[in-house]
C-alpha cells in the first residue's frame, strides 16, 4: 500500500504522490484473462475522459512526429539575427533566443519528451516488474536482499544520481531514457513485489508447485499475467513522471544537450524571459506539458478503473 513514488521524487522535493495505482487486485484464473481484458476494454471506452486523454496523446504524437513532415523548419542552424521574434509571418509562434522557429522547436522538443517519457516508462516497468516478481515469488532471504537494494537506491537522493550520471556521460535522448528508466523502476518493483507476495500463497500457484512446475515457470506463466493490470496502470503514471522529471532536469541545467531539446528544457528556458514577456517561449511548452501529462493521467485513471471493474466482476 505504500507509495514509493513519493520517496523517489522527494529528492526533488516537489512532486506529489501519485494516486494509488490499482489497489491490490487479487488473483484470477488465467484462463479467464482474455475475456476479462475485453471487459476492461469496454469499461475503458465508456470512460469519456480517458478517451479524451487518449485522443490528446494521439494528437500530440501526430503533432510531434508527423508535423515536421509538413512544417519544415531548420532546427540546426542558429540565426542570431532573428532571435526572440514575436509570432508573425514565417514564424507562427515566433523564434527563441537562438533564432530557432518555436513551432518547429515544439515538435522537436515534443519528440524528445514523448520518446523519453514512454521509453523510460517501459524500461522502468520491465525492470521493476521482473525484479518485484522474483522478489515476491521467492520470498525469504531473496526477497529481503532484493527489497533492501530497492530501499538503498530509494534512499540516495535521485538528484545526486542524476547529477553524477549527467556529469560523466553526455546527456542525449538515449542516455536520458536509460537514466530515468533506471531510477524509476523502483516503484513498479515494489508494487509487483507486493502483489506477487499475495499471489504466491494462492491456490493455483501452490498447485503448480505441488505438480512439480518450476519456479521460473510459475513466475512467468502465472504471476506476471496477474499483475499486468497494476503494472500497466503504473506505467502510464511513469510516463507522466518522466516527462516532468526531464523538465526539472532542464531547469537545473542538466537536460538534454543543445541543439536537441525537450518541452521541459524549452519551458525552463522560457521562464527566464517572463519579464521581457516573450510569452511564446513560456506558455506553449508549459501548456503542452500540462496537457500531455494530464492526458496521460486520464488514460491511467481510465485503465485503472477498467482493471478494477474487470476484477470486481470476477
Amino acid at each position: 500500500m505504500s507509495d514509493p513514488g513519493r520517496a523517489k521524487v522527494d529528492s526533488l522535493g516537489e512532486m506529489p504522490p501519485q494516486e494509488p495505482a490499482a489497489a491490490a487486485p487479487t488473483g484470477l484464473p488465467v484462463g479467464q484473462a482474455k475475456s476479462m481484458f475485453q471487459l476492461g476494454f469496454e469499461v475503458f471506452i465508456q470512460n469519456k475522459l480517458a478517451i479524451v486523454g487518449m485522443v490528446v496523446l494521439v494528437l500530440a504524437v501526430v503533432f510531434c512526429f508527423v508535423g515536421p513532415l509538413f512544417y519544415h523548419t531548420d532546427q540546426v542552424t542558429v540565426d542570431l539575427l532573428t532571435t526572440n521574434l514575436p509570432p508573425g509571418p514565417g514564424h507562427p509562434l515566433g523564434t527563441d533566443e537562438t533564432g530557432y522557429d518555436q513551432l518547429g522547436r515544439l515538435m522537436v522538443g515534443g519528440q524528445a519528451s514523448l520518446t523519453i517519457g514512454f521509453a523510460a516508462a517501459i524500461i522502468a516497468t520491465i525492470v521493476g516488474t521482473v525484479w518485484g516478481a522474483i522478489a515476491g515469488f521467492f520470498g525469504g532471504l531473496v526477497d529481503a536482499v532484493m527489497m533492501r537494494v530497492v530501499d538503498a537506491i530509494l534512499s540516495i537522493p535521485i538528484l545526486f544520481l542524476l547529477l553524477f550520471i549527467v556529469t560523466i556521460v553526455r546527456p542525449s535522448i538515449p542516455v536520458m531514457i536509460f537514466v530515468l528508466g533506471l531510477t524509476a523502476w523502483l516503484v513498479p518493483a515494489r508494487l509487483v513485489r507486493g502483489e506477487s507476495l499475495t499471489l504466491r500463497v494462492r491456490e493455483y500457484v501452490q498447485a503448480v508447485r505441488v505438480m512439480g512446475g518450476s519456479s521460473w515457470h510459475s513466475v512467468l506463466r502465472h504471476i506476471m499475467p496477474n499483475v499486468i493490470g497494476t503494472v500497466i496502470v503504473n506505467a502510464t503514471f511513469q510516463v507522466a513522471d518522466a516527462i516532468l522529471l526531464i523538465a526539472y532536469l532542464g531547469y537545473l541545467g542538466l537536460g538534454i544537450s543543445p541543439p536537441a531539446t525537450d518541452w521541459g528544457g524549452m519551458l525552463s528556458n522560457g521562464t527566464a524571459f517572463i519579464f521581457t514577456n516573450y510569452w511564446w517561449l513560456i506558455y506553449p511548452p508549459g501548456i503542452l506539458i500540462i496537457v500531455v501529462v494530464v492526458a496521460v493521467n486520464l488514460v491511467g485513471d481510465g485503465l485503472r478503473d477498467s482493471v478494477e471493474v474487470r476484477l470486481q466482476r470476477r
Partner: protein, 314 residues
C-alpha cells in the same frame, strides 16, 4: 511486532551503510575531484597534490571510507573547506529553514486536501468535484518552477500582495514575524501535493463508502454524518498516514526548486551546491541524514499502518 521492528531496524541500518558506500564511491569518481573543485582553476598540480595529502584524499578509497565511518560514529560530519564551516553548523543553519518550509506546506496540504477530498467524494460528480478534480490534474501536471514563477509574477509583482522572496532573517522566529513572505513559497510547494493528496483522499473515501462495514453501520441506523466521520474517515485516512510517513525524507531533502526560486537557502540548495562543487563532507552529511530519514519514514509508515489497520499483519 517488536521482533519485526527490530529486524527492520537492523536491515535499515545496513541499508544506510550501503547507501553511504555507494555515494562515497560515486563521489570519488566525479571528474576533477574535490581538490580541483575547491581550489579552483588557479590551483597548480602541486597545490592539488598538497591538498589531497592534507585531506587524506590520496589514500585508497577503502581506508578513506572507514576513516569517514569512524568520524560519523563519533558524531563528526566533517568540515567544508569550500564553505569554511563545519558540516554540522551548516546543517544547523539550513535544516530549520527546510523544516519550517516543508512542515508548513505539509500542514497546508493536509488541512486543504483532506476536507477537499472528502467533500469531493461526498459531492462526487457535481460541479465542485469537477472543478477541484480539474484543478488538481493541472497542478499535478505543472512543474514547480513554472508555478513558482507565475506565482511571483501574479501575486507579488502585479498584485503586490506578497514579497517575492522568503523571509531572509536567520533562525525560525523571524520567519514567523515576516509571515506574509512565507505564503508564496509554502503555497507553491503545497499546490502539487494538495493536488496529489486530494485525489488520493477522494478515491480513498469513495473506496470506503461502499464497504460492507459502512453498509452495516447504515443498516444499524447510524446517521450519515456519523458513518462518514466515524467509520469512513477513519479508514480513509490510513493511506494518508502512510503517505505522511513517507513524506518525512522530504523534510530533510528539502525543496530545491522552491528554495532557489524564493531565495530561501535550505537543505535542498545546500545539497545541490555541494554536489556541483564536489564538497564531499557536505554531500555525505546530507545523504546520510536523508537516507536515515527515508528508511525511518518507510519503517514508520509500515509500523503505523500495522497499528491502525488490524488487517495488515507484519
Amino acid at each position: 511486532m517488536i521482533g519485526y521492528i527490530l529486524r527492520r531496524l537492523a536491515q535499515s541500518i545496513l541499508v544506510v551503510l550501503v547507501v553511504t558506500v555507494i555515494v562515497f564511491i560515486l563521489l570519488h569518481q566525479l571528474p576533477g575531484g574535490a581538490a580541483r573543485a575547491i581550489l579552483g582553476p588557479r590551483a597548480t598540480a602541486l597545490q592539488v597534490a598538497q591538498f589531497n595529502t592534507a585531506n587524506g584524499y590520496d589514500q585508497p578509497l577503502l581506508i578513506q571510507y572507514f576513516r569517514q565511518l569512524g568520524e560519523w560514529f563519533t558524531g563528526n560530519f566533517g568540515f567544508s573547506i569550500k564553505l569554511n564551516q563545519s558540516v554540522s553548523s551548516l546543517l544547523a543553519q539550513r535544516l530549520p529553514k527546510t523544516i519550517v518550509l516543508s512542515l508548513l506546506s505539509l500542514v497546508l496540504t493536509v488541512v486543504v486536501a483532506v476536507p477537499l477530498g472528502i467533500y469531493q467524494a461526498v459531492r462526487r460528480n457535481r460541479t465542485f468535484d469537477y472543478v477541484a478534480t480539474g484543478l488538481s490534474f493541472i497542478f499535478y501536471a505543472a512543474p514547480t518552477f513554472f508555478i513558482g514563477i507565475i506565482m511571483i509574477e501574479v501575486f507579488s509583482q502585479n498584485l503586490g500582495w506578497f514579497p517575492p522572496e522568503a523571509p531572509q532573517s536567520n533562525g525560525v522566529g523571524p520567519i514567523f514575524e515576516q509571515f506574509d513572505a512565507m505564503v508564496l513559497p509554502v503555497v507553491t510547494l503545497a499546490l502539487l501535493s494538495i493536488a496529489g493528496f486530494s485525489r488520493y483522499m477522494r478515491s480513498s473515501v469513495l473506496d470506503n463508502i461502499d464497504q460492507d462495514y459502512v453498509r452495516t453501520a447504515q443498516a444499524k441506523g447510524a446517521s450519515p454524518q456519523r458513518v462518514l466521520y466515524h467509520h469512513v474517515l477513519r479508514n480513509a485516512l490510513i493511506p494518508i498516514i502512510t503517505l505522511l510517513g513517507l513524506s518525512l525524507p522530504a523534510l530533510f531533502a528539502g525543496a530545491l526548486v522552491t528554495e532557489s526560486i524564493f531565495n530561501f537557502p535550505g537543505m535542498g540548495l545546500l545539497f545541490w551546491q555541494a554536489a556541483q562543487s564536489s564538497d564531499y563532507p557536505v554531500e555525505l552529511g546530507v545523504v546520510i541524514i536523508t537516507a536515515f530519514a527515508t528508511v525511518a519514514g518507510n519503517l514508520l509508515a509500515d509500523v503505523s499502518l500495522a497499528i491502525i489497520d488490524p488487517r495488515v499483519k507484519l
